[in-house]
Symmetry: D2
Subunit: 384 residues, 4 copies
């Protein structure tokens, strides 16, 4: 491979999308890739106009993903895209990912990965057959101080973990509820586009993934109480979940999208016998540890004492805030390492991005939560 930027394509993420621009900024901020092709709407005309806003070559703004997969695959290797980012509603992820994987493209897919565990497992097998890279954008694992949290636990500094509390309130559906505003986001409340869950799928999966990323712990069984506070809604907008992780660890995941006034207030606290740690997404540059004597140590992004993974996931020194886009970009950067290796026909190194396996576990989590809630909120073994 000549020394060049990677070439990316995108499906979804057009006008009005929240996460589309994040994918593009994350892909390009570090000067490692450029977006050169895409489908940005199910309406070819809108897609075309949006491509213009991105200053794309009109010949590479396609009418639909099938056309894109076919035509990009037909381009010469030094011209076609190296990867495709998928930023559509959940329900389309599977078909699109499959099409591009089969056409020989690596994928960076928004989460949740699919609409069912069965689809997820099938996608895993498609990825395996394709030999291509598949990354899932569980953003929060891209934050430097989340990596440092993982490092601290790997070092054994917490002792035996006993308890994990994730509290993750958002308020945007409360706003919707109050205003009656039919915002662009409410495809998440539509089972035809979102699948069997809104809140658990949208943010519960982040919570589960974050716990697993930091601690390595898997869920054994759970007991879920889901609610639909939005009148007429078919999907959960709030969930209270008790969890038994393996190794006797107890946990709670509280997720809510009707918590008035909250933005994206993901908080995690992990208590071990020697140390506890907590991290707050809205103040992402700090990691807080409390020792057995009640003494608190705060590690900050950019400090020379944080682990090398956290340091290399940080672009700026101490005191210069980095945020959500940079965390997202870190997932892209790690995925790019794998893609570049593959483009160069090199051995793909171990990279630090969420994979199709994370997607399978997320879907198992969603289905287990919904099953528990549906069965009169009984304790339910984690589906495999």
């Amino acid at each position: 491979m000549e020394k060049r930027k990677l070439r990316g394509g995108m499906v979804g993420g057009g006008s009005g999308s929240l996460i589309g621009p994040v994918h593009r900024m994350a892909a390009t901020i570090d000067g490692q890739a450029e977006i050169v092709a895409g489908v940005f709407s199910s309406d070819p005309e809108k897609s075309k106009r949006f491509g213009e806003e991105l200053y794309l070559d009109p010949s590479r703004v396609y009418a639909d993903y099938q056309e894109m997969a076919e035509k990009e695959a037909a381009l010469p290797p030094d011209h076609r895209v190296d990867f495709v980012s998928i930023a559509t509603p959940n329900v389309y992820h599977f078909d699109i990912a499959r099409a591009f994987l089969k056409a020989g493209f690596s994928i960076i897919c928004d989460k949740p990965m699919t609409c069912s565990l069965a689809e997820a497992k099938e996608l895993k097998s498609i990825v395996a057959k394709s030999g291509k890279i598949f990354a899932l954008t569980h953003t929060y694992t891209g934050y430097p101080m989340v990596k440092h949290a993982r490092h601290i636990i790997r070092q054994g500094m917490l002792g035996k973990i006993n308890k994990i509390v994730v509290d993750y309130p958002q308020g945007w559906l409360a706003r919707l509820l109050e205003s009656g505003d039919e915002s662009t986001r409410n495809w998440r409340l539509d089972p035809q586009k979102s699948g069997i869950s809104c809140c658990t799928a949208d943010i519960g999966t982040h919570a589960e993934n974050l716990v697993r990323y930091i601690t390595g712990l898997e869920i054994e069984e759970l007991c879920a109480d889901l609610s639909c506070f939005i009148p007429g809604s078919l999907l959960d907008d709030d969930g209270c979940i008790l969890i038994h992780y393996k190794e006797g660890v107890r946990g709670i995941i509280n997720v809510s999208q009707i918590s008035t006034g909250e933005g994206n207030c993901l908080n995690i606290r992990i208590s071990g016998t020697k140390l506890s740690l907590s991290w707050h997404q809205e103040k992402p540059n700090d990691l807080i540890c409390k020792d057995i004597e009640g003494c608190t140590t705060t590690y900050s992004k950019g400090s020379p004492v944080v682990c090398s993974e956290a340091r290399s996931a940080s672009r700026l020194p101490l005191g210069h805030p980095e945020g959500f886009i940079e965390a997202f970009a870190n997932i892209y950067l790690e995925t790019f390492k794998a893609i570049r290796a593959q483009v160069k026909d090199q051995l793909v190194p171990v990279c630090d991005y969420p994979t199709v396996d994370d997607g399978v576990i997320s879907m198992a989590f969603i289905e287990t939560v919904v099953a528990s809630a549906a069965s009169n909120k009984k304790w339910t073994k984690m589906l495999q």
Copy 2:
């Protein structure tokens, strides 16, 4: 009644006690009462020595509570105590309270009130028959900003309440666990002194009481997952509880005494359709409200805009921190209003302190939680 300080007696709270000094400071800080009698240990010699430290008249430091009840009752009315504070381990509360109520004394009792719901109900009936004042020291209801939280909800500012999250980690048992130190506090782990629960009884009841004080909401059913992380322990040191309050409100109470490094980190967040509010015991002088637009208003103790109950529960202006002792003292002050009225043979006004009814509900809460946990963590109707 001549214009005079009230006279208080005390049972328990002697050498090594955490809460004993708090009762004494709370009782006397506002110059409304003095402690003049007591039993401070089950060992009469120790009790006597401790009475000396308090500069008490030796003739009023008794060998046991029975003697105290009898002898104080035999004193002339202008000499005997007006109230008795009970600060012993839980298991003695009932007998002591009964003895003094029957002897004609008002009671200020530490929580939890008794060791069973049955005892609690019996005590309620004894209180009723006695015609005496009975207060329970659910400290957190004494904080000014908790009163302002209640005021805001009473004004209807939250709209319809949807969700209540109480997160209450402490770490002192983690310290015990790590150190093997047999501290004075571990009577709480002894079923003979503490009853059927450690963590739920000790702090879960505060959580339930705080929710009910602020919102007025009662529990319909709950699902509890209790743990004993302390090796060899017979009682819960950690609990995760899902709750259905009446009126369709969903809730979580997380209580833990093995959350390493935490002090007394009681946090509550109540989300309504129009506004949410949160309060943090470790920063008690602020009350935080978030509106539907994500705008945050922080009300501070001492500000002229807080409600009159909050203002009168505050001794100092804005920016002068008040804490746990002052909150405790506010419960004493409200109880004193009732006691003074009674001493003067006046109509007892409505006062703002936790009563024997709160104690009954707390005991029902403990028994329901333990029953749910014991029955394979099933959803269980709140006992009545």
Copy 3:
């Protein structure tokens, strides 16, 4: 001395006083003293009525301080007060203190100690001659974490101190300014009662004292810019002061009483070559240290790792907030140690309370600041 509570008297601090109740709560909260006598108003009738509210023996509520000094001195030793607290406007401190010292009583005096440096020096000599205890209530030195800050510096953990920043905004005069409300507090703006300064005398002295308490550093010279934003006011309500401490340490003291919305927001940051520390009065239970790598350690009141002085200045365990009254009470407690020793004719131990020497330095500070401001804001050597 028999084992008994100390007996206190009080001058000032009657109806409407902010600091009067604080003195009484601080004196009595720990059960070490009781208030038994006083003059609470220049109007004898008001004084009498206020004495009733305190449940005092009417024979010991006096018409003026001269009468009190005389009559208390005439009481038998086992009856008369052991100390007198002075909580009047500044201008009366000197005369009252002198009278009681000459009559043989120990003094606990509110700050600033006098209205001039000359008076302060004279008072120092009177104290010396009297052989009595004299304490000054620089409240903030009573906070446990301020004591731990001092400890950390004494241990040499900061390396060489380079810079000290005190930022101390209050807003109560802004409120006065806006409302035109002639509150009870505005004697501070009256030179007849307050002396030559309002803001510098009231809170600037706290800032200077706090720096000196924690670091031991003395001021060499300063440059002060004082303002009177309140229309028609004769005294400063805001001050910006550049400071050269000895040993080459640079500093700023910002004091303001027109900083809208602020309560009592005293903040100090001390930077050494190895470590910096900061403390915030409105969150007094934490002490924050930042090391050279940008790693932050927060020490909390009640933790077993804080120094013994901080531990013994704390009444409650970790996570149970203590505030202004408790800090004030710590000054009383240390003073009581000295007074008890003297009452028992024992050697007075080294105690940790501000003395008449602190008062002299405070007065030198006020006069230097006012002189600098008056001389076209020139750099001015600290008066001796």
Copy 4:
């Protein structure tokens, strides 16, 4: 102009540079521009290698800025760069800016703009003659909540401003001092590269600029106390500055680079008669207002209630942190609006970026501060 990305060039900002990558990320994150040319080192070989890392066309990586100006100017208009970013040490800014302006290119220049007020004024006249766009990267004015602060003041919500306190500690020179590490950053301590000031020039100018951006207030006179704590250093590493703004506003600017453990802790508090506001760069997504009653309102980035300028300077909804790079990018975006208009031969609209006029005032500020400090720290009129 066809619909296309702008083309940028860069001088400086190569290997080891802190701010170079920030310029590149800021220029490209929003998909509005691409970097296509540059000089990245005074060593042509290093420059070339660095250009490769950026995947640049080698023919557009130049040996020096003169060559770049000449050759880029010689390229056809649809190929040459639209703007040049200058990210070299201060001392080169003037010559490079002049060269490119004269060659017909717009400039985005790092701050401080030049090494002297005289140069600054000359540059201003060169900019005027060139008719080109000139922007200065005073990053902090790019933060959404800084824009909202300005909005609040423009709405008159503060009443009359009385006091402005800027506290801006950094610790990186303390680290240098302690470690003896000759880091890449210490060109700032070299008068040959940095000019007459280190700390005042580097961060004092940010403080002055931020005050002026938010309030519109200009400095009338100031009194500066500068220090050199780094042994052997010729330039200030710490400064305490008293300020008289116009309209009777009093202020303090504290800047320090030896404040151990601090990152980039820029804090500003502006007190008006009706409201005060404060903003903290390390928590940039919140703006805090305190009203006369001590009630605090926190406005957050992404909330629909913030002003339109703040909303359009934000890429993500409430609760999704944005940081330094995004703020920097906002300055680029506003500058791009002007550059695009010019490229299209349209009227250049009013855009919200710092200009050459800001640079002139900054240089006047630096020279006034240094003059005051040098003249025995006397009060000195702001140079014009």
